[in-house]
C-alpha cells in the first residue's frame, strides 16, 4: 500500500470541481504557478486511512486539446507527473457534455475515478442513474457526490485509495471509433511503436495515434520519424475521402456517440423538464432592456462593498499601525535621532503598513468576485458588456477590473484573473493604471479647489477622469494593432445555471487570494520601502544648520539634502518644460512609491504641517507659486504615470514577468511626460 499518493482533480468549468477540492483538502491548500506559464496551480493535502494524499487541482477544461494553455497544462501534468489517480468531476445534471473530457482521460490510460457531482440537482431534475452498469460501460469507478454539501467524501476517498492500489493497467478499456478509423489507428499505432520508441515509453501509443489523426499540434510536433509522418498524412487523406470531413470531427462525433449510448442505457429521466428557475432569472438579467442597468447596479454594489465597507477595517488597521509606530518609537529615548528608529518607524512600519492596509479591500473584492462567479452571474455580466468592450478590442469581462481600477489599481490588476485569454489579460493589466485611482484623488482634492473657481471644479475633475478613460481606450487600440496583434478571441462561453453558493467555498476563495497578496507583495514592498526610506533620509544635513532651523525648516532641510531632494533638483531642467519646479519634482519622485505621498511631500517642502488647517495653508502657498495651467499639468502627469510601486509589483506578479511590469512603468512615464509637455507648451500659448 502506498503511503503517499498524488491525486489530480480534473473536470469541466462549472462542474463544482473547486468545492470537491475544498471538501477533500479543507483549509490545507496553497496556490502557486505552473512553471513557465501563468496558470494557477492549486495543491492541497489530505489524509485517509494512513495514506497521505497530495491533491492537485488541474485547470477546469472542456477537453484536452493543444488549443489552450490550460488544457496543455492539465494533460501534461497527467502524462509527466503520472498521478496515482485522476478524479474527473462531472456535473451529474449535465452528463453528456461533461463526459467528453472523461473519454479523453480514458484514452490517456489515466487511473480514473468519476465523481458525479451535484447529484442533488440531478435528483431534483428527476434523473436516476444505474451506477453499476454505467461504471462497467465506462470502465471506471463512479462515486456520487454533492461537493458543496460535503456529501460523498468517504466514498470518494475510498474509491481513490482503491484505484491507487490497482495501479496503471497496460491495456485499458478503449472507445471504439468505428471500423474505418480503427483500421487507420492500428496502422499508425504500429508505426509509432516502431519509429518513435522514445515517445511511446512516455505516452500510450494509441493515444498518440488518436492525437495524430486529430492533427493535435503539440503531439504532431513531437514526431520526427518520416514514415510515421507519411503514414499519418495518408490516413488523414483516406479518412477525409470516406467521411468528407476532417477525421477529428468524426472522432469527436463518435465520442459523443459512445457517451450517448452508455447514457441511454443507464440514465432515466422521470420528470419532464420545464422552464427552470435559471431560465426565469435569465429572462430578466440578460434582457435587452434590463440587462445593462442590472449589471451597472451590481457593479456599483461591488465597488461600494469593496471600498466603503472596507473603510472601517482599513481605518482600524491604520490605527493599529500608528500604535505600533508609537510603541516602537517609545523603545528609543525621547527625541532620539537614531537611524534604526527611523528605519523601523518611517521605513518598515509605514512602508509595510501602507500595503497591509489594502488587505480589507482585497478580501472584500475577492469576496464579491467569488460570489458573482459562484452564483453564475459573472458569465452574464461578461456578455452584457461584451459588445462595448469588443468595439475597443477587449473581452466583456475586462470591464470589471476596469471599474475596480477606479478605486485602486492593485486589486484591479489581481481581478484580471477572471480573463482567460492571456492577450486580453495583458492588455487590460497594462492600461488599468489609467483609470484614475483613489490615491490620486487626494492630489486632485488638493489642487482643484486651490486653482479653479467653484463652478469649474466639478467639470475639471470629470475631465481628468475622462482623459484617463480616453487614453486607456486609445492605448488598447494601439496595443491591439501592434504588440497584441491578432483577432479578438471569438466569444463562446458556457452559461452555467444559477446556483446558490456556499459560504464556505466563497470564504476559502477569498482567503487564498488575500494570503497570496500579503506574502508576495508584502515582501518586495518591504524592500522597496526601505530603499525609499534611505533615499529620503540620507544624507543628513549637518547638525548646526539643523539646530538653527525651526522644526518645519528642519524638515525642509532634511528633504533638500537627501538623495531624493537632490535628485529632484537635478531633474528640474528636465521637468521645467512641463511647468514643474524641483519642489514638484521631489514630490513626484516620492509619489512613485504611492500617490498619497505626493501631498505629504509637498507639505514638507512648503513647510506646512499635515493637519487639515495646514492643507488650507498649503493651498495658499501653491496658489502663490503656480498657475492653474501648471496645476492641471501636475494632475495630468499624476493621472498618466504609474500610480505606485505596488502596481508595478502586482503587475509583475500577475503577468509573471518583469518585462511587462517595467514596460508598463516606462510606457506610462513616457506618455505622462510627453502629453504633459504638449499640454503645457500649447497651454502657455493661451493662458
Amino acid at each position: 500500500m502506498e503511503n503517499k499518493i498524488i491525486v489530480a482533480i480534473a473536470g469541466n468549468p462549472n462542474s463544482g470541481k473547486t468545492s470537491i477540492f475544498n471538501m477533500l483538502t479543507g483549509a490545507r491548500q496553497h496556490v502557486a504557478n505552473y512553471p513557465g506559464v501563468t496558470v494557477e496551480k492549486k495543491e492541497g493535502f489530505g489524509k485517509y486511512k494512513g495514506c497521505e494524499i497530495t491533491f492537485v487541482d488541474l485547470p477546469g477544461t472542456y477537453s484536452l486539446t493543444a488549443y489552450s494553455v490550460e488544457e496543455l497544462v492539465a494533460r501534461n501534468f497527467i502524462i509527466d507527473e503520472r498521478p496515482d489517480v485522476v478524479v474527473d468531476i462531472v456535473d451529474a445534471s449535465n452528463i453528456e457534455r461533461n463526459l467528453y473530457l472523461a473519454t479523453q482521460l480514458i484514452e490517456m490510460n489515466a487511473p480514473l475515478v468519476l465523481a458525479f457531482n451535484m447529484s442533488d440537482i440531478a435528483e431534483q431534475k428527476g434523473l436516476t442513474f444505474d451506477i453499476e452498469q454505467l461504471s462497467k460501460l465506462l470502465g471506471t469507478t463512479i462515486v456520487q457526490t454533492v461537493g458543496n454539501k460535503a456529501k460523498g467524501k468517504e466514498q470518494l476517498l475510498e474509491a481513490i485509495i482503491k484505484t491507487a492500489e490497482q495501479g496503471r493497467e497496460k491495456r485499458v478499456h478503449k472507445i471504439h471509433y468505428g471500423t474505418e478509423i480503427e483500421d487507420e489507428l492500428a496502422g499508425i499505432e504500429e508505426a509509432v511503436e516502431e519509429g518513435e520508441k522514445e515517445l511511446t515509453a512516455k505516452y500510450p501509443a494509441r493515444w498518440v495515434a488518436v492525437k495524430l489523426l486529430e492533427q493535435d499540434s503539440e503531439v504532431t510536433s513531437k514526431i520526427k520519424n518520416n514514415s510515421v509522418i507519411e503514414a499519418v498524412a495518408k490516413s488523414i487523406e483516406h479518412l477525409k475521402n470516406i467521411f468528407r470531413d476532417e477525421p477529428e470531427i468524426v472522432i469527436a462525433d463518435r465520442r459523443y456517440g459512445f457517451i450517448s449510448g452508455a447514457c441511454q442505457e443507464t440514465i432515466k429521466s422521470t420528470v419532464e423538464l420545464r422552464h427552470s428557475t435559471s431560465d426565469l432569472v435569465d429572462s430578466v438579467v440578460i434582457n435587452r432592456i434590463l440587462g445593462l442597468p442590472i449589471f451597472l447596479l451590481l457593479m456599483f454594489l461591488t465597488f461600494f462593498l469593496t471600498f466603503k465597507l472596507g473603510k472601517f477595517p482599513m481605518l482600524a488597521l491604520e490605527f493599529l499601525f500608528e500604535k505600533l509606530s508609537i510603541t516602537v518609537a517609545g523603545f528609543f529615548p525621547q527625541g532620539s535621532e537614531s537611524w534604526l528608529k527611523s528605519l523601523l518607524v518611517d521605513g518598515v512600519i509605514s512602508g509595510v503598513g501602507g500595503v497591509v492596509v489594502f488587505l480589507p479591500n482585497i478580501l472584500l473584492l475577492f469576496l464579491a468576485i467569488a460570489f458573482l462567479e459562484d452564483t453564475g452571474y459573472m458569465a452574464r455580466a461578461a456578455f452584457v458588456m461584451d459588445r462595448l468592450m469588443h468595439k475597443i478590442g477587449l473581452h466583456g469581462k475586462s470591464f470589471i477590473p476596469m471599474l475596480i481600477g477606479f478605486g485602486c489599481s492593485v486589486p484591479a490588476i489581481m481581478a484580471t484573473r477572471i480573463l482567460e485569454n492571456r492577450r486580453n489579460r495583458l492588455t487590460t493589466i497594462l492600461v488599468l493604471p489609467l483609470f484614475s485611482c483613489g490615491a490620486r484623488l487626494t492630489i486632485y482634492a488638493l489642487f482643484i479647489p486651490a486653482f479653479f473657481p467653484e463652478k469649474w471644479q466639478g467639470p475639471v475633475l470629470w475631465l481628468i477622469y475622462l482623459i484617463g478613460i480616453a487614453l486607456a481606450v486609445i492605448c488598447v487600440k494601439l496595443l491591439r494593432l501592434t504588440v497584441f496583434k491578432g483577432e479578438t478571441t471569438p466569444f463562446v462561453m458556457e452559461l452555467p445555471p444559477y446556483r446558490v453558493p456556499t459560504f464556505k467555498s466563497i470564504a476559502i476563495h477569498m482567503w487564498q487570494r488575500g494570503w497570496l497578496f500579503l506574502k508576495k507583495a508584502g515582501t518586495i514592498i518591504l524592500i522597496i520601502s526601505i530603499i525609499l526610506w534611505a533615499a529620503m533620509s540620507f544624507p543628513k544635513p549637518d547638525q548646526k544648520s539643523l539646530e538653527d532651523a525651526g522644526t518645519e525648516r528642519a524638515q525642509q532641510l532634511k528633504l533638500e539634502t537627501s538623495i531624493i531632494g537632490r535628485v529632484g533638483k537635478a531633474i528640474e531642467p528636465a521637468i521645467k518644460p512641463l511647468g514643474f519646479d524641483w519642489k514638484i519634482g521631489t514630490a513626484l519622485i516620492g509619489a512613485t512609491a504611492a500617490k498619497e505621498v505626493f501631498v505629504s511631500q509637498l507639505s514638507i517642502i512648503y513647510s506646512v504641517g499635515e493637519s487639515e488647517k495646514s492643507r488650507h495653508t498649503l493651498r495658499e502657498k501653491l496658489q502663490a507659486n503656480y498657475t492653474p495651467l501648471t496645476a492641471f499639468c501636475v494632475m495630468l502627469f499624476c493621472l498618466i504615470s504609474t500610480p505606485c510601486i505596488a502596481t508595478t509589483i502586482i503587475t509583475k506578479q500577475e503577468t509573471g514577468s518583469w518585462f511587462w511590469a517595467l514596460f508598463q512603468f516606462a510606457a506610462l512615464t513616457i506618455m505622462a511626460y510627453v502629453i504633459t509637455l504638449i499640454v503645457y507648451q500649447l497651454g502657455s500659448l493661451f493662458f
Binding site: S63, Y67, N94, A252, R288, F491, E494, P497
Partner: protein
C-alpha cells in the same frame, strides 16, 4: 426538399436547428465540439435579440456566442436528413 443551410445568426429564438458544420479553424472547432457542437447535433435558440447575447442550448447546456461566432456556425432544418 431544399437543404436550407444558413448561419446560426439568422435563426430566431425558439427555433430548433441541426448543426451542419463550423466554418472556423482547428482550435476553435475543437473548442466548440468540446461544448457539444458536433455536426448533427440539435441546437435550440434561446435568445437572439440584438444587441443582447446570442444564447443556444446544446446537449442540455446553455452556451453564449458572439455574433461573429454565430455567423460561422452553419445549420439546417431538422426535418432534412443529409445522409
Amino acid at each position: 426538399m431544399e437543404i436550407n443551410n444558413r448561419p446560426l445568426s439568422v435563426v430566431k429564438a425558439g427555433e430548433k436547428v441541426r448543426l451542419v458544420y463550423v466554418d472556423a479553424g482547428h482550435g476553435l472547432r475543437g473548442r466548440l465540439m468540446a461544448l457539444g457542437l458536433v455536426p448533427g447535433t440539435i441546437l435550440t435558440i434561446i435568445n437572439n435579440d440584438q444587441p443582447g447575447p446570442f444564447v443556444i442550448s446544446v446537449k442540455n447546456t446553455k452556451v453564449m456566442l458572439g455574433r461573429g461566432m454565430a455567423n460561422k456556425i452553419i445549420v439546417s432544418n431538422i426535418a432534412v436528413k443529409n445522409e
